[in-house]
């Protein structure tokens, strides 16, 4: 048998029982790798359950800095009897199988191509730890200690992490450190040199942080000046508003101890968005966070916000649909419903962050965008980005930045124009009109906000010409928005390459890795990372420059490809979908395979591509 051998390049999977305290131990492991300067990408693959069902924690260690899911497991820590057989079977040949040997492994676990690492976790804990409750929790720490020996994790990094974690309760650090030592010593005494997967301190990471997207989003809302959040609990978005509340209570207190923010847990998602919209209408910055089922409910209000031109920020942390779907798995499948939410001719501005830093920046900036464009801004995060920890650059803030509240008339301005103003009168020619905030001026500036058809002065109208005029203006505003939203990120590796790839959000990690792998095979592709709808002109230029463009996304129907065709009027034959929608993040392997197969099918490449690309 050839054992898998690698330094800073492997995938380890922890198979646990939900609610058994494994999360903090597994987190301790991933953070130790991160603190040794090695790029690491942990992913929680958890059930829609609080206690008892299987849960996995998958950690990819990649010295090369590839942060997407790789697929396949080189090392399994099997501490869940329910899934042990499958975990054993799924282990890659040459891999390592660490299990609790308090009970012997059944005889039919007879693979010859894996290395067994038996650690009597329960027995060690029963013998060494007297407190029965602690015993159960520390069992997880014992296997982290064993891993420290097996993989060469710097032991001091682990103990420092525990001391930091229990800084306020140092007494709790002691038994944890003891448990680490128990595991470490057992492995040293019984499994000398059995594992050929190693970690080694690296300089790959310097200023980086490791953060979940939802915390970064909540923090972004604080920095963007949000004061009102209406929300309804739903996985995987719940932690966005929880983070916002936590940061608000800490950083937004006035000298009387009162909070400069209001968070309301609403009765449903309809009300959640209504609360955010009411606040924005009244001049505050409001937002809500939800997932697919919430977006479905919010459609009605999104149409109102579009037509009555009310700024609002909506965070959609996408999960696997349709309907209830797989609530604890990821997908990028709310594109259609978000882009065109609500009846009638509506369309909405979407932003696509790809890492926590961008969650922060895009959320913070989205409040300016909403105010400037007077329309909903929907931030399309997903479960993988929102709930998993990601290594990224730290968010920055420019203290000279002033919030841009858009076109709002103040008391003095209303006085000067003597109220000669129309809420929906486009005097600048960019489709964006001036609004007023209730209570501004005693005589001027009041108007009646409505979702029914209205004229320039906001009065109800059934006049066809006036209705058409306002719809045309909203279309003009949509075009104006192109200039306001973040531009795509374009990478041209080979000016002559006929192939381009387009991706967005969490597909980015794996897309970058796939490009490197393809380059090794002499397939040089150029790339464009979408960051917003409406599409910047550069998107069209990129597509026009290439004969074939692969659109990578995580849904069944190739939603982004179809939105590109719909909005950009591009030749459908030229755009080829590269998809994964099994609920787990897309891998570089999946991307490469689909691109290579497509290229094979169209060989000689140029010919087929030209055929499809006739214009």
């Amino acid at each position: 048998m050839t054992k898998l051998e690698a330094t800073n390049d492997f995938v380890i999977r922890f198979a646990n029982v939900n609610g058994s305290g494994s999360a903090s131990a597994n987190n301790l492991f991933a953070k130790a790798i991160f603190r040794m300067g090695i790029p690491v990408s942990p992913k929680n693959i958890f059930p829609s359950n609080i206690q008892g069902l299987p849960t996995w924690y998958e950690v990819r260690v990649s010295g090369d800095g590839y942060l997407g899911r790789r697929g396949g497991y080189d090392f399994i820590v099997a501490v869940n009897g329910q899934t042990m057989r499958k975990d054993y079977d799924d282990l890659l040949p040459g891999g390592y199988f660490l299990y609790d040997s308090t009970r012997p492994l059944p005889e039919n676990y007879d693979r010859k191509d894996v290395t067994l690492i038996d650690i009597p976790l329960t027995e060690i804990c029963n013998r060494e730890i007297s407190n029965p409750k602690l015993r159960l929790l520390l069992k997880n720490i014992v296997y982290v200690g064993a891993l420290a020996y097996l993989l060469d994790i710097e032991f001091s990094v682990l103990t420092d992490s525990l001391k930091k974690q229990f800084a306020k309760k140092p007494k709790l650090a002691e038994p944890n450190i003891h448990a680490l030592e128990l595991g470490f010593n057992y492995a040293r005494e019984n499994h000398t040199e059995s594992c050929c997967l190693k970690v080694k301190r690296s300089k790959k990471l310097s200023d980086h942080i490791i953060m979940d997207g939802n915390s970064a989003t909540g923090l972004g809302a604080i920095y963007g000046g949000a004061t009102v959040a209406g929300w309804y609990p739903i996985t995987p978005s719940t932690s966005v508003v929880e983070a916002f509340s936590k940061f608000a209570n800490k950083y937004r207190q006035d000298d009387k101890g009162r909070v400069k923010a209001a968070v309301i847990q609403a009765e449903d998602e309809l009300a959640a968005l209504g609360i955010a919209m009411g606040a924005c209408w009244n001049g505050a910055r409001g937002f809500t966070a939800t997932s697919g089922p919430g977006i479905s409910l919010m459609n009605e209000f999104l149409g109102l916000a579009y037509f009555a031109e009310i700024p609002v920020v909506l965070i959609d942390v996408q999960r696997t649909g349709p309907s209830t779907g797989m609530p604890t798995r990821t997908q990028q499948s709310d594109l259609f419903i978000s882009a065109y939410a609500s009846h009638g001719d509506t369309k909405h501005i979407l932003l696509f962050p790809h890492d926590p830093e961008e969650c922060f920046t895009m959320t913070a900036n989205s409040f300016d965008l909403a105010d400037q464009l007077q329309t909903p801004i929907i931030i399309m995060s997903d479960l993988d980005l929102g709930m998993n920890d990601h290594v990224c650059s730290p968010p920055q803030w420019d203290d000279n930045l002033q919030y841009n509240r858009g076109k709002v008339l103040n008391e003095k301005q209303l006085e000067e124009i003597k109220g000669n103003w129309g809420r929906y009168h486009d005097i600048d020619g960019d489709g964006i009109c001036y609004r007023t905030i209730p209570g501004t001026h005693p005589e001027y500036g009041s108007y009646f906000t409505r979702g029914s058809s209205h004229d320039q002065k906001a009065a109800y109208t059934e006049d066809s010409d006036k209705y058409v005029e306002s719809m045309v203006r909203l279309e003009k505003k949509w075009l104006t928005a192109k200039k306001y939203v973040p531009a795509p990120v374009v990478q041209i590796h080979d000016k002559k390459s006929p192939w381009g790839i387009i991706f967005f959000g969490t597909s980015t990690y794996s897309a970058h890795e796939a490009m490197d792998r393809l380059t090794e095979k002499n397939i040089r592709v150029n790339s464009l990372r979408l960051r917003a709808l409406p599409f910047h002109d550069e998107v069209g230029e990129f597509i026009d420059k290439h004969e074939t463009v692969f659109v990578i996304e995580q849904n069944r129907d190739g939603q982004m490809r179809k939105i590109l065709i719909n909005e950009g009027d591009f030749d459908p034959h030229k755009l080829i979908s590269v998809l994964n929608y099994d609920g787990l993040p897309i891998t570089a392997g999946q991307i490469c395979k689909q691109i290579e197969e497509a290229l094979e099918a169209m060989s000689p490449p140029a010919k087929k591509a030209v055929q499809g690309g006739t214009k």
Partner: protein, 350 residues
């Protein structure tokens, strides 16, 4: 269409404490049917706001969808209004109130907008105790879609269509009391004497106040067989007690015999004097208030007036402990913790 009212008025119209005439509280011309109860309620709102000398631009008018929800266009033309979507006014009002606690919020809704499509939001805006006055213009039917029964139509009541309503009705006042509203009243669009002081007291109340105003639909639900018709309501209503509302600014000149009046001091210092008679209802007791509603219902009587009042509840801002300054006036300086703090925060993620 929205029609503007002619601006000509008698030059010597009386003025309130702010120097405004009643005209300053009017809105566009109503497009509702002639004789609609809703127009009388709009006029009562104009009268109440004028008498209370509210600054018109410091009032925000919130509504949903339906005949009732159109009325904010017909009163307080100097106030901002928000005609939202069907049944969702309470959430919009919640957000607006959170953004600026200093304005007066008047929500206008109908029985369809409140008791059917908007029941969820109605229940929860009460639970949160948003500081607003919620007026239901209750005609027991869907006027804009030509007279279908609504959820407040009494069982057996017959609208113009002639078929008795087979379903149980919802008593919004009883529900509001159960859900913890601090001010609950019922009135009749045809009784301006009662409605105007009720509106004034509701506006002075800190926290959520509900006034369910029975407002006959002259076109679809006004035959004598309907329990929401002018004739029926006039014949079957009984008030809990008569009362006076004495706004804060007004000097109290009348004295009352002890034992016959109960003064209730409102949050802003205004006073409601309830005149008790032997058989009057104790409107400060939640249980007695619900009993009274049930008893009158059994006797086919409509109980009107203040049904329940409690001045001890905390509104949403007090519950959430939000700052005194309206959130919509806060600036970067108040809201953004800055780059140094950000550096410290992100350091926790290393």
């Amino acid at each position: 269409m929205t029609y503007r009212r002619p601006t000509f008025r008698h030059p010597n119209l009386p003025k309130n404490d702010l120097g405004y005439t009643k005209r300053d509280y009017e809105g566009g011309i109503s497009t509702l049917c002639a004789g609609c109860g809703h127009d009388s309620i709009s006029n009562a709102i104009i009268q109440a706001c004028y008498e209370m000398a509210l600054e018109p631009h410091k009032v925000a008018k919130m509504s949903g969808i339906g005949c009732s929800s159109k009325t904010p266009a017909y009163f307080l033309g100097k106030s901002h209004g928000f005609n939202s979507v069907h049944g969702r006014m309470p959430s919009i009002a919640t957000g607006a109130n959170l953004a600026n606690r200093d304005l007066t919020y008047i929500g206008v809704s109908g029985d369809g907008d409140t008791a059917s499509i908007g029941m969820g939001q109605f229940a929860h805006v009460i639970r949160r105790n948003i500081d607003m006055t919620y007026i239901v213009m209750n005609n027991g039917c869907y006027g804009l879609t030509k007279g279908q029964d609504s959820a407040t139509a009494d069982r057996g009541s017959k609208s113009k269509k002639g078929a008795p309503n087979p379903f149980e009705s919802i008593d919004l006042c009883e529900l509001a009391i159960q859900l913890g509203a601090g001010f609950v009243a019922r009135s009749f669009s045809g009784d301006k004497q009662q409605l105007v002081p009720l509106l004034k007291a509701a506006l002075a109340h800190k926290g959520f106040s509900l006034i369910d105003v029975i407002s006959p639909c002259v076109t679809f639900n006004n035959p004598d067989t309907s329990t929401k018709s002018y004739q029926y309501v006039r014949d079957h209503s009984e008030a809990t007690a008569t009362f006076d509302f004495i706004p804060l600014r007004m000097e109290i000149t009348t004295t009352y015999d002890k034992g016959t009046t109960t003064p209730i001091t409102m949050h802003d210092g205004s006073i409601i004097n309830l005149y008790k008679s032997d058989d009057s209802v104790d409107v400060t007791s939640r249980r007695a208030a619900i009993d009274a509603l049930e008893e009158h219902r059994e006797q086919n009587q409509i109980l009107t007036g203040i049904l329940y009042i409690s001045e001890e509840m905390r509104d949403t801002h007090e519950i959430l402990q939000t700052c005194d300054t309206p959130l919509n006036t806060l600036t970067e300086e108040d809201l953004c913790p800055g780059s140094t703090t950000l550096a410290a925060i992100v350091d926790q993620y290393r």
